[in-house]
């Protein structure tokens, strides 16, 4: 009864990702067996530092998307709810708590489960849900938890030395924690190398996103939701840079040949928010009408990275993160960002996903939708959890997409 839930990809390079991902998870298991320290991390924990210190990073939110894409989330979520975690809380967290505390009640875990952790690293500055979640895991698994912090900077990039000093201090705390756990010393040179590679990949990613503005769109969100994976989880590696070089070359070739996602591109959409991991084929749905989802808000690369801000790599990381922000951190910045994307990528309509259990993004979606409609840009809001497939009504969503497409085509006529 469950069909394939993957999106149809347009690029060959994208198809490499599942293999890379599987290999990554296998590697973490091997690392664990070899006696390397394994850290379970929340997204945005600087894995370049962990990598430089030979600590294996396992990013739980990614594993949650893997579970969700196999439509196993509801089983894990139900298990998590059984041990007391409300349906309100982040779907990713509930799933992982189900996986940890109610293994018997849960489905079989993908990739044979996660490598056993030695400690937990969480940053809760972007998402308040993570601290409670990681604290609960720390107790359940009886392993140490280190909380990493950074300033919020809702007004965006800043030249504040205070913010930079605090960020630097927190990074050094993280290093000190890792030194203690591993019994080894931090080598700045190793980090410097990884930061250099990360910058290079990041710049290629920026160029890729510029290329995506072409008409017809050479690479849309159906590909990018998968193709972004190395940038998030293989940061600072040669493997990552090589992947994006190949991706860029493929896109350039497609542009040269005028190859788009559909034979005749009739309209271009943007996806705002997290996609529904249990049905990524939804991203391809509008293709039958000549539409493409050309770009997404969440993983879009916005700026070329600043050059190294200091010789000391930790100070460099701190200054860079204060002086340049990867994501808009207030509604005002988010609105500007969205409108900018719509203009740059020649977008005709926006689909906004309203994921109730990801309040970090959810809180802004209505105002973003309103801002677009006020400017005559058609929108469609879809309310489903990003991971828990119990909240998804396929026929309902597709009916609404049909109506949205009708509206778009009528507007263009």
């Amino acid at each position: 009864m469950v069909q394939s839930t993957s999106a149809r990809k347009s690029l060959q390079t994208t198809l490499e990702v599942p293999t890379l991902r599987k290999a990554y998870y296998a590697r973490t298991q091997e690392d664990s067996k070899k006696g390397k320290k394994v850290a379970w991390c929340s997204n945005n924990i600087p894995s370049e530092i962990l990598d430089a210190m030979d600590v294996t990073a396992v990013f739980l939110e990614n594993y949650a998307t893997v579970i969700a894409s196999k439509r196993l989330a509801s089983g894990f979520c139900a298990a998590g709810e059984k041990v007391g975690f409300s349906q309100d809380v982040c779907g990713y967290a509930r799933m992982l708590m189900g996986y940890i505390l109610a293994r018997d009640e849960s489905p079989e875990a993908p990739y044979g489960g996660l490598a056993k952790p030695d400690f937990l690293l969480v940053n809760s500055y972007s998402c308040d849900s993570r601290l409670g979640w990681f604290a609960a895991m720390s107790r359940a698994l009886n392993i140490p938890l280190h909380v990493h912090d950074a300033p919020h900077q809702p007004d965006g990039a800043s030249d504040s030395t205070l913010n930079a000093e605090y960020t630097e201090r927190e990074l050094r705390n993280l290093v000190a924690f890792l030194e203690k756990q591993t019994g080894t010393s931090f080598d700045p040179e190793k980090l410097r190398q990884r930061l250099a590679l990360a910058r290079q990949s990041s710049d290629i990613m920026y160029d890729i996103n510029q290329l995506r503005k072409a008409v017809p769109c050479p690479m849309g969100s159906a590909d990018m939701f998968t193709a972004v994976w190395p940038a998030m989880y293989l940061v600072g590696t040669q493997e990552c840079e090589d992947f994006y070089k190949r991706l860029q070359a493929e896109i350039e070739e497609r542009i040269a040949q005028g190859i788009g996602i559909v034979p005749e591109e009739k309209f271009r959409l943007m996806w705002s928010g997290i996609p529904f991991w249990y049905d990524m084929s939804l991203i391809n749905y509008v293709e039958q009408y000549g539409g493409v989802v050309a770009v997404e808000s969440f993983y879009r690369s916005r700026e070329r990275r600043l050059p190294p801000q200091d010789e000391d790599p930790i100070r460099d990381m701190a200054l860079s993160s204060v002086r340049q922000r990867a994501y808009p951190s207030s509604i005002i910045a988010s609105i500007d960002d969205l409108l900018d994307a719509v203009k740059e990528h020649k977008i005709d309509g926006v689909i906004l996903s309203f994921n109730p259990s990801c309040r970090m993004l959810y809180v802004s979606q209505m105002e973003l939708q309103k801002s677009l409609e006020e400017r005559g840009i058609p929108t469609l809001g879809l309310e489903c959890d990003m991971a828990d497939e119990r909240t998804y009504s396929e026929s309902q969503v597709k009916t609404r997409l049909d109506a949205f497409v009708e509206r778009l085509l009528a507007a263009r006529a």
Binding site: E81, K82, G84, R390
Partner: protein
């Protein structure tokens, strides 16, 4: 000492008469009239089977959602406490009581001495309630007493996936139109209902022995599904609808003895 317990539910009113702590007589009738009138009638009907009159009753406790509309009751007791009391009296090994009423259901955890330790209630969602099953009975044109049996006989089930009763109803209608056998639909429905009931248990937890009370407990298919999902066997009293009234009567007994 003669006491009475009355359970004024959304659908039925039960009255239980105790004489010196023993069950003397009980009566269940379907309510439809105003609370005070129907409660009095239930008690009177129960008394008809005995040698006693209304005036002989020394203490009356009312429970159920309509407990505040029984003016002649000496005291009110909440469903949680009266259900627990009644179930524990019948089965001292009871550690979980699942009460499935017409409109609401509750799960109650008991301690070794029968004291309530925790409870959760579901009165927001219709799925799993007696009234919901009555709606399904009408829709499927199967008398409610036969729903369980028909379902147990079925050799398969058609999934009813909706969490919400309203959506479940439309799902069932579409199954009927597609010609799915009634037994299959009922089997799927009962699975879903049992699932909803268990979700409600939440952090109350479930420990054996499990006693299931209330009118819906008569549905053998739902009971079977509960047992399958919890991997525990359940006890269903021969008269699951009178447990609340029994508990209320026992509380009346305690109160009468104290005064």
């Amino acid at each position: 000492m003669l006491v009475a317990g009355i359970d004024v539910g959304a659908r039925n009113v039960s009255a239980m008469i105790l004489k010196d702590g023993d069950m003397l007589s009980c009566y269940v009738l379907t309510s439809g009239e105003e609370g005070a009138t129907v409660s009095r009638r239930a008690v009177q009907e129960a008394l008809k089977k005995t040698d006693f009159d209304f005036a002989d009753l020394q203490y009356i406790v009312a429970t159920g959602c309509g407990r505040n509309s029984v003016p002649f009751a000496h005291r009110q007791s909440t469903e949680v406490v009266s259900q627990a009391r009644g179930a524990f009296h019948l089965y001292p090994s009871a550690r979980t009581v699942i009460n499935l009423g017409a409109e609401s259901s509750r799960a109650i955890r008991l301690g070794e001495n029968g004291r309530v330790e925790a409870f959760t209630k579901n009165d927001k969602c219709a799925a799993g309630s007696g009234l919901f099953l009555e709606t399904m009975s009408t829709l499927l044109e199967v008398p409610i007493e036969q729903m369980g049996e028909l379902s147990l006989k079925a050799d398969g089930f058609e999934e009813v996936s909706s969490i919400c009763a309203v959506f479940a109803e439309s799902e069932v209608i579409s199954h009927i139109h597609r010609g799915v056998p009634k037994g299959h639909i009922l089997a799927g429905l009962h699975r879903a209902v049992a699932g909803r009931i268990l979700e409600m248990l939440g952090t109350t937890g479930i420990k054996g022995d499990v006693v299931v009370t209330g009118g819906v407990a008569r549905n053998a298919a739902i009971i079977k599904e509960l047992e399958k999902k919890t991997r525990l066997s359940t006890i269903v009293p021969p008269e699951p609808q009178i447990v609340g009234a029994l508990g209320a009567a026992l509380i009346a007994q305690d109160r009468a003895a104290k005064s």
